[in-house]
Every structure is written in C-alpha cells, then in structure tokens.
C-alpha cells in the first residue's frame, strides 16, 4: 500500500498536468465533434487526478522544481509548483470538469460551434496549467498568448455580428496587454540577462528600470484581467458567449493573468514596489467594485448582470495589493486575495451555468422573463442562490472566508477605508442578486411554457455551488496547501 503511494508520489505529475489537456486537444480535433464529446469527461477526470497527484506531492515534499529539457535556468526553462500553483491547478481542473459535463448536454441541443468547443477548451485548460506552472517570464508570455487565442476562439464560437465584435474587441485588448508584458520581458532580459523568475527576483533593484517594468507589466496584465477602467472588453465577451464558455472565461481565464500579476508583485517586484503604487491598484479595485456593481444593477439581460458582477468581483482581488502593503496585514491579505480568486471561480461558474439553464428553459434572456423559474427549475435557482451567497461574502461560503481575511488585513493595517468599500460592495452585490431572485420567485404568467432540460445541466451547476459552499465550511484545507512555499516565512492567515 505505502509502496503504491510512494510510487504515485514519485510520478512526474507536472508534465502530465500540462500534457493531458493538450493530448486531449489533438484527439478531439483529429477525431471530430462526437469523439470530442465522448472523450471530454475521461480527459477532464484524468487532468483532475493529475492535479490532485501533484498537490499531494507538493504537500508531502514541498515545492517542486522541474527543469524542462534538463537544462535548468537560466539556459533552459524551469517549471515550479508551490501551494499557490497547485490550488490554481485544482480549481481549473475541478471547474473544467463540471463545465465540461454541462457542455456535453448544452451543445447536444444546439449544435453551433460544438465541433470546435472541445479542442479549443482543451487548449484553454492546457494553457492555464502551463501558465500556473511556468517560472520563466518569456515562457509565461507564450502561455498568455495561447490562453488569449483559445479564449477568443471560444467567444467567437456562437458566430453572428455581436459575437464576432466581442471576440475581436477581446482579441485586440488581449494582444495589447500581452505586448506590454512582452516589452517588460525585453527590458528585464536586456538589463539582467535572465528570464527566470527567481533570478530576476534576486537581481531587481529599485530604480527607473524596475519602475518602468512594473508599470508596463502591471498595466498589460490589468488589461487582460479587465481591471476597472480597462474592463470595456469583458461584458460583451463574457455575457455574449455560449454559457459554458462564459463560465470558463469568467471563472478561470481572468484569474490566470491575475495569478501572474500576484507572482510578479510578490516574487519579482517585491523589493521595488512602492506603497503609492499598491494604493493605486487598490483604488482601481474599489472603482471596479462600486462601478461594476452599479452597472450590474442596471442590466436587463441576466447573463449581462452576471458578467458585470465579474467586473465588480475582480475589484476585490486587487484590494490585496494595498492591504498587503502594510506589515500587520500582509499575510491575511495575501491568503484572502487568493481565496477570493478561488471562491469567486466556483461561485461564478455555478452562477453562469445556472443562469444559462434558466435562459435555456425560459427561452428569453431578460430578467423579467424569469417568472415561474422558482417552481420550474428549483435546483438551478438554489445553485444561483448558493453562488450568490458566496459573491455577497455571506457565510457559509468561500466568499465569506475571503472577505473575512481581507477585512482582517484591513483592520490590522488600520486601513478602514477599504473596510468601507468592501462592506458597500457586499450590500450592492446583494442588491443586484436579489433583484434576480425576486423575479425568479414571481409566479409564472399564465400560458408560459418552459423547455424541458436534461438534469445534468442543473446538477453540474449545483455541484459547483456545493463547491463554493464547501470552501466556506472547510477553509483550513485549501489554506494549508496554499501555505506551501508561500512568499513569506511561516505564514498563516
């Protein structure tokens, strides 16, 4: 038994975490739509297992370093898996699995784009896994582009002028963002002659170069993360795409660029970042929270409400930076920010899938067409509510844990103004979410007909909602994983 376990631990999980989704992509494209559908769940389960295996190994043996080609930095590319990377991998694999389950049945009914959804999704997941594991700034650029093109392709799936415009807007924004990032890479290599994160972190010194690089890379990645006021591209792309795509994009894709920003700030830029810079990011985050929530409150189409809610929730992620800028709060700020990213992923994916089912059943996207849903799709509505609890930051939910940690950091650092912002944001979130619930509670108008849905559509959303609940009932587990190799010694929130 124990020998089996040690053998499993010894497996070179990193290469499989990256390799499995890409292999699936090849199979899915080569053998066409039906095979893609059939292979999806096995492949997604396998990638989840690979992520679990890697996390187990990291928990047991500490952070893992993988020298691609056996060369090692600075000549070759290094991959690096610590608790943070593993948590992101687990999140991606789990949400990918449930969304894939949903998509199997979603695309079974309306066939546009079903053919290329599967290979594109395989690339999307593979690109994110590669990004989370890479420890080389240029390789990270390639993964960013891989991710961006896959995401844009998925947005364009639905066809039609609106989708094409959304996709093109998204593509141009993403390309501009990654070029700013690449320029930063060029400056870094030109100055320090290496591309490895660790070496750069050791060599970067405060000065014009560091500040220019920080500005360029942060700007580029903020654009890719749709941080207010650079969020213009997100709502049409996320709100207009096919439901499983919306879920993947809103829950996962924006987290990838945020994750990269987090790594850079804490592991490369740390010596050179200034408190005003951090405060500026916080101000933009606050703007996102308030402005995004307000716009969500003004929407008429349900999926657009959820999309704007993403714009708002991204704001909480960026409060991490100012909160971590003062010593007393740094740890709970970091843990809280990462936890917010993870729990938002589960909640938002669940919410998009649930809303997608409602729209599919009611046949209309407008919020005032939801009457009778509570009687017709109780499970989807329940999932929506569970996810909503997490977004509002109410217990029991992962969102509450994240908010707790962030508020704790704010109070410990004496930055009460962020407390005010977070509380206001929570109340605004409640306002626009209960607006949806209220319409769903109304009795159905006479003669209203609903389309019957396969149960899998409701169950997959429910599974994710339970995930966001579980994150609130058992936070010590994910946080323990997160502590492995955290950017500060002996950290605990």
């Amino acid at each position: 038994m124990s020998t089996v376990l040690s053998a499993l631990l010894a497996v070179n999980w990193i290469s499989w975490v990256i390799g499995l989704p890409l292999t699936y992509t090849i199979a899915a494209f080569l053998s066409g739509a039906r095979a893609g559908r059939m292979l999806a769940l096995p492949a997604l389960v396998l990638s989840l297992l690979a992520a679990v295996g890697l996390s187990a190994r990291v928990l047991a043996q500490g952070p893992q370093r993988h020298m691609v080609g056996g060369w090692g930095a600075p000549l070759g590319i290094e991959l690096y898996a610590d608790g943070l990377a593993c948590l992101m991998l687990l999140m991606t694999a789990a949400i990918g699995l449930f969304t894939g389950w949903y998509a199997r049945h979603y695309f079974a009914r309306q066939d546009t784009g079903a053919t290329y959804f599967w290979p594109l999704t395989g690339f999307l997941l593979g690109a994110m896994n590669a990004l989370y594991l890479s420890a080389d700034v240029f390789n990270l650029y390639v993964t960013l582009e891989l991710l961006g093109l896959a995401a844009v392709g998925l947005v364009a799936l639905t066809g039609g002028a609106a989708a094409l415009a959304a996709a093109l807007r998204y593509l141009l924004a993403a390309l501009a963002g990654s070029l700013m990032y690449l320029l930063g890479v060029a400056l870094l290599y030109g100055a320090h002659g290496t591309l490895a994160l660790a070496e750069l972190g050791a060599r970067l010194v405060p000065g014009p170069l560091a500040w220019t690089v920080i500005a360029l890379m942060t700007l580029g990645l903020a654009l890719k993360t749709a941080l207010f006021p650079l969020h213009f591209w997100l709502p049409p792309a996320h709100g207009g795409a096919a439901t499983p795509v919306s879920a993947l994009l809103s829950a996962l894709v924006i987290k990838a660029s945020f994750y990269l920003l987090l790594r850079l700030w804490f592991e490369v830029f740390a010596p050179a970042v200034t408190i005003p810079a951090a405060q500026l990011l916080g101000v933009l985050g606050a703007g996102a929270i308030l402005w995004g929530s307000w716009l969500a409150l003004c929407q008429q189409k349900v999926k657009m409400i959820v999309a704007y809610s993403t714009v708002a929730q991204i704001g909480y992620l960026f409060l991490l930076f100012p909160l971590a800028a003062y010593a007393p709060g740094v740890e709970s700020a970091w843990y809280g920010g990462v936890y917010q990213a993870v729990s938002h992923a589960f909640a938002k994916a669940a919410m998009f899938l649930a809303v997608g089912s409602m729209v599919l059943a009611a046949g209309r996207e407008d919020i005032d067409q939801l009457d009778g849903i509570s009687a017709r799709l109780p499970l989807s509505l329940f999932s929506f509510a569970l996810a909503g609890i997490s977004l509002m930051g109410l217990p029991p939910s992962g969102g509450f844990i994240a908010k707790w940690l962030l508020l704790k950091a704010a109070l410990a650092g004496g930055q009460w103004w962020w407390v005010v912002v977070m509380i206001l944001g929570g109340l605004l979130t409640a306002a626009y979410l209960f607006r949806v619930l209220r319409h769903a509670f109304l009795p159905a108008r006479r003669g209203k007909r609903f389309r019957a849905l396969p149960p899998a559509l409701e169950l997959s959303a429910f599974g994710l909602a339970l995930g966001s609940l579980a994150l609130g009932l058992w936070a010590s587990g994910p946080l323990a994983l997160l502590r492995v190799g955290a950017p500060f010694a002996g950290a605990s929130p």
């Binding site: 002028a161 415009a165 093109l168 593509l171 501009a176 070029l179 030109g190």
Partner: protein, 100 residues
Amino acid sequence: MSIGLIYAVTGALLFSLGLYGLIVHAHLIRKILAFNIMGSGTFLVLVGLAQRGGEVDPVPQALVLTGIVVAVSATAFALILARRLYAANGRCTLPGEGEA
C-alpha cells in the same frame, strides 16, 4: 551609442507609435496594423537591448522568432475575424467606435 541600443530606442518609438494607432484608429485593419507595429517595436527592443554590448546573444533571436510566429497567428486570426464582421454587418469598425 551602440547599434543594439539604436535598435532598442527605435523599437521603443515604434511601440509607442503602434500603441497610439491601436487606440485612436477605429478602422479594424488599421488597428491590426498598429498591433503589428507594436510587435515589431517590441522585438527590436528584445534583440537590440540584449546585444547593445556588441556581443551576439542567440537567445533573444530565438525568442523573437517565437514572438513573430505568435504575432503571425494572432494577426491572421484577427484579420479573419474582421473580414467575418465585415461580411456580417458590412462595417469595418467595432460597435461604439466611429467610422474611420
């Protein structure tokens, strides 16, 4: 001022120019061209800055080759999206941006 540095400075100028074009031009083809100018600028900085000492460094050259392929793929995809959009609604601009 070494050759490499001259390349790098030119690259910086091209990058800024491209960024300007990407933001202010409404016409999609112009936007895509602007993106390519930004890209070329970045590549110039990448090769130029690293070799400003005069010695040859194969790594940035390889990086630029990779970057070029990525840029080509992105450009092709962008162009075809633009063509599709034009075929769909007969406009060469994104909604909400004035005609070029």
